[in-house]
């Protein structure tokens, strides 16, 4: 869980930094060139398989872990009071993770599959024709506004997931130290707020400002 989790965090950072190209005021040229690169470059396509494996292993180990942990307490408590020191995020990683997974599937249906299979709006950049991913993004967020709402909600859940997940991964790997753990925890909070916030600005931007 920890290794794949941290790997997926690295993917989020790359994905977010690439997506910021949407904000270049060049009618989406930079974003379209980036989309073209990401979908045609050989190294990226190989890494994509690794990413898929990362997701599948993360989900599969989560399933195994949950089954095993449920089996460890066959009879539940009549009254269960959570300690105030225990965060809601940490107790509900399965819930936040499942919602993020549902979102991920919708996200792939919205963008990944149309772009790779069937989408045929092209744009001309300096004499070469590229698929117009920028217009696809703008259309989905603007015309189908309920997706935008869904995206923003999913980012809130992703934030909850990262809130516990990032620092927890280090604890699982045994990377705990008086000097570094506070930094890791701070970094975890920072990532869990800034990354989903960065993604959430995109539907907001296309809904209201574009």
């Amino acid at each position: 869980m920890s290794l794949t989790g941290l790997f997926l965090v690295s993917f989020l950072l790359v994905h977010l930094s690439g997506n910021f190209l949407l904000y270049r005021s060049d009618n989406g040229d930079a974003f379209n060139l980036y989309s073209h690169f990401m979908s045609t470059n050989g190294v990226i396509r190989v890494l994509e398989i690794g990413l898929l494996a990362g997701f599948l292993i993360h989900i599969f180990t989560a399933y195994i872990l949950t089954q095993r942990n449920k089996a460890a307490r066959p009879i539940q408590y009549a009254v269960s009071a959570s300690n105030a020191k225990v965060t809601w995020f940490s107790r509900n990683m399965g819930l936040s993770g499942s919602i993020v997974l549902v979102f991920l599937i919708i996200h792939l249906i919205n963008f990944y599959f149309p772009f790779h299979y069937g989408y045929d709006t092209y744009v001309d950049i300096e004499g070469t024709s590229y698929k117009d991913m920028y217009t696809l993004v703008a259309t989905v967020f603007k015309n189908e506004w309920w997706y935008s709402i869904l995206y923003i909600l999913a980012m809130v859940l992703l934030s909850f997931h990262l809130q516990h997940g990032f620092a927890s991964a280090f604890q699982t790997l045994g990377l705990e130290h008086k000097k570094y753990t506070p930094i890791i925890k701070g970094l975890g909070t920072l990532i869990s707020v800034l990354v989903p916030l960065g993604f959430a600005t995109m539907p907001v931007y296309f809904l209201f400002f574009n």
Binding site: L65, N69, A78, A81, R91, T172, E176
Partner: protein, 252 residues
Amino acid sequence: MNTMNLTLKIWRQPNAKAKGEMKSYKISGINDHMSFLEMLDVLNEDLQKKNEDPVVFDHDCREGICGSCSLVINGRPHGPQQTTTCQLHMRSFKDGDTIYIEPWRAKAFPVIKDLMVDRSAFDRIQHSGGYVSVNTGSAQDANNLPIGKEIADEAFNSATCIGCGACVAACKNASAMLFVSAKISQLAMLPQGQAERKKRAESMVAQMDAEGFGACTNTGACSAECPKEISMANIAMMNREYLGAKLTSEAV
């Protein structure tokens, strides 16, 4: 001194195989200076006078050091204070309160009767490696084994674990990792523990898994409820010990 009247909802289960249920009892005239276990003693005297089966619960030293007393009280192991049940006093409750009392709940801790569970899974984990092998003969001079103050303190903190099992009871996964990690860390930090260090980490973790405890998801509920305030740093240390041992031990 105040007296109070309470409603108790207690898990009753005649034996390990029987299906248990929560039963309700009214109890009156409880002194707020009584410990929680003394309150249960009063209840049991009442039950015996009425020729009913008294409630079975584990207890021994009643001084907060033996780790015998258990009880999940209103959904929290050892009740609302971060202490052992024997050190919990009735002043933590109010007149008219309803108190739910349940046994530790874990597959690895089967109920023997009522509120008493079988915690021998912990003993088997200890037997699998929670010791140092020392040959007989006269002890060497203590000054031959210099141990830094910080390490000595940390090892002592880990050693304060009384093995009560509140960590398992508090954990949403019924994981025993706080207990096992305290035992592994305590010896891993000290020179006497080095000889069997890798074997210990591997065997104790294997035994913990074989007993059917859950796995840690780092919620921190164990440490928050532990009467001895064993820290989560122990679990990180155990993970480190276990990973290191798995990668480098001679056991194939």
